[in-house]
């Protein structure tokens, strides 16, 4: 009976067999190597969509991709500016460095890493990752009361779970390791996301909006500002996880990287309505505690709401909390001069002199 069922003579493989396959096994890693090499050139950005670290936040991905391109092209970045969308559209690094150059005669390289909906919790994580990867001499933390509220952060808090970010924070994982060490893998992730038509529209919108220095310009418009007299933060109190994150960012202050906190201005007409309770509540519940925390870590806190915000041109606001293109130019120029002054007063290191080795 078994002989009626079993008779292994259909398959008739003779030697040599499989040599092509074996040769391809040798060529495959060579192809991978070539892909890796190509992905580290500047040419790859002419051909491929922006790389990705596997985050579900396209704005973060584009910011990181443009920063990578900048570093690849121009070398180490001198200063990074981290914060929410107020930073994203409010600080123009080109205007900043121009103002700085006019005062000092020297140039510096700054990058805007403002991410919309960013709060303190994500700021702590992102600043640590950026510091570990790019070793900027100066890190600005642009803050505003909503950065410490648990009502915000829906797009930025999920970044904490990203494998690459976890890897950069010291929580080893294979995916994070691969993303960090392989440029080709990052471009592969970027291509995979970009191929999806729904994703592509969003990714390209951000890629076009955010310039090579990370600035997300908000075009000037002449429509009247609204909601100026509506209170934004009712029953305001600091969210503990956002405070923890902020402290982690402050803790980066040291010899290698100097941290400076900047209060991001809001429209003066809106300022009394930002926190329920008016200007005194703003000062009591935001400015004072931030100031105290900054002092704990030896970090300068540059306040701008009272003195600088009123100087912003009246039509320099996109809305009650964000500067538009003109407003950003004004504020960035002020900031560039402020950096130059602080440098001359030795509040911050001279960014044009090399300190520790570049990454």
């Amino acid at each position: 009976m078994p002989e009626k069922i079993f008779k292994p003579e259909s398959l008739s493989i003779s030697r040599p067999f499989g040599n092509t396959f074996l040769l391809s096994l040798i060529l495959f890693p060579l192809l991978l190597g070539f892909s890796e090499g190509f992905s580290r050139t500047l040419l790859v950005d002419e051909v491929m969509p922006p790389p990705s670290v596997g985050a579900s936040n396209p704005e973060f991905e584009v910011k990181l991709a443009h920063l990578e391109q900048l570093v690849k092209r121009d070398g180490a970045v001198d200063c990074l500016i981290v914060g929410s969308s107020q930073i994203d559209g409010g600080i123009n690094p080109v205007a900043l460095t121009k103002a700085y150059a006019q005062r000092t005669g020297k140039t510096i390289l700054c990058y805007n890493f403002g991410i919309s909906t960013l709060t303190g919790e994500a700021m702590g994580v992102i600043t640590r990752v950026l510091e570990a990867k790019y070793h900027p001499r100066l890190m600005f933390l642009g803050i505003s009361p909503r950065d410490f509220s648990d009502q915000f952060g829906e797009n930025s808090r999920p970044l904490l779970k990203n494998p690459w970010i976890q890897y950069m924070l010291g929580n080893d994982n294979y995916t994070g390791w691969l993303i960090d060490h392989s440029s080709a893998y990052r471009y592969y992730l970027g291509m995979t996301n970009w191929k999806d038509p729904g994703n592509r529209v969003v990714i390209e919108e951000y890629a076009n909006k955010i310039d090579g220095f990370g600035y997300g310009r908000l075009p000037n418009h002449h429509t009247p500002l609204v909601q100026l007299d509506e209170v934004l933060l009712k029953k305001y109190k600091f969210n503990p996880s956002d405070v923890d994150g902020f402290r982690q960012a402050l803790n980066l202050n040291g010899a290698q990287t100097r941290v400076v906190v900047i209060e991001m201005p809001v429209n003066p007409a809106f300022y009394p309505n930002y926190i329920e309770g008016g200007e005194s509540a703003y000062h009591e519940k935001f400015t004072q505690p931030v100031s105290a925390m900054a002092e704990e870590y030896g970090v300068p806190f540059w306040q701008t709401q009272v003195e600088i915000a009123p100087q912003v041109p009246a039509d320099g606001w996109n809305d009650r909390r964000h500067l538009n293109e003109d407003g950003a130019a004004f504020f960035s120029t002020w900031l560039g001069g402020k950096i130059a002054d602080a440098q001359m007063q030795s509040q911050i290191p001279d960014l044009t002199q090399s300190a520790s080795p570049s990454p």
Partner: protein
Amino acid sequence: MDILSWQFAAFTVVVLAIYYLLTRRAQNVWLLLASYVFYLSMAWQYLALLLLTTVVNYFLAWRIERDVLDRPRPAVGEAATGGARSLRSRSSPFLSVGLLWNVAALVLFHLASSTYGQSIFGSDLHLALNPHSIWTRFLFPVGFSFYSLQAISYLVDVSRRQVPASRDALDFALYMAYFPKLTAGPIERARGFLPALARPRRVDNQAVTRGLALIVTGLVRKLVIAQTLQQMISTDLFKSPLSYGGLQLWGGILAYSFILYNDFAGYTSIMRGVSALFGLELNQNFNQPYFSRSFSEFWTRWHISLSNWLRDYIFFPVSRTLLRRQPNPRHPLNLVVPPLTTMLVSSLWHGFSLGMVTWGGLHGLYQALERLVQGSRPRQSQNRRPALQQVSSALLTFLLAMLAWVPFATNDFSLALQYWKGMVLLGPGVNAFRMPFGWIFAAIGLSLAIDWAQYHTADDVVFLKWVRPAQAFLLALAVLLVLASLGQAVDVSGFVYQGF
């Protein structure tokens, strides 16, 4: 079980491993069991329908053969003396029953899934068609369109004494159910396939290499080319053509032409490769159709198994019948009716919609016009025409075929009209969707490169003739590209600039 899944790969490996240990007869039993398991993994309703179709056609063929054998074969020369009538008299009423059974089922299933059917049956059918209803699966049996055509060809061939009615239920069941061709063809004829099942199979180095080469080529076509192109065009391009600019519409239908081709040709290549590993050859289904220099050539190169079926069971009978009535081959009746009838049947087989009928009608007209333009001029071999003439003919054929894909893609006549209008007017469109033409042309370029390599050697695994290092490099590159295509995107489409 999706054929592009690790489950299918594992399933095939397991089936193969045991297959190679068995005798021929046991191999057929094993393949039949595996095919039923494969189909069952999709839905038990599909398997029930397949079993019913198999049993009905198996026994109908017996009765047809008995009727046909009872009547004497016509003598030599009888065909000339009322031969057609004598031939018809040889057919059996059971052939009509069989044809009615298979065709009615085809019509019912197509009607159920069409908007016309839903308008006929009303909202009750809509309610019944919820995905959890057991009846839903009976009404949309995957693969039925293909194996029902096999059944029809089998019954007709038995009635014409082209093939004896099978007395081997197992082999016949396997002919109907063989899993590499079950869900989307190729449509195999019993005349070739049943004898192949009865022969011992031998899978040597060449067969394995050929099978694997076909699988890799198919994966490149389906995943690297077709899937990438699918992602390059907007998902509602064919549903809302008016909102897109002219350039987008041209780019979209160009991409679609290559999506359709590479998706189907890729699938067939994979299945032919799998079947080659079993020692069973499946017919080629695509032969570089976009290099065709005429529509009569196109339909010898596109979905060949279906085209041949339509030619043998629709075109020739209609053509010959009309030539009997009107001997002038250049009479409009003989020029227009056969191709139009054939293509309309083809369009209805694809789907019951005005869009499909428009597609089929266009191809029928193309062929009729070609014949008309040819006129009484002397024929010339395509290959002997000047190269420039051949290239321009191929480009024109492709352009017209591409335009005909519009109603196929929209599956709706009025949407097709909107699409064509947009292509002609070349307006800017209101949709901001930007088509990445660079990537589209890169994918199309890869498709054409594969086609060219196959075309001018008339060998679909021409790469196996290259020197070993080149083969190895190509294999490594193909694997890299296929793996790169498998990545799953993170969904960021809902991410809107928050400004917070």
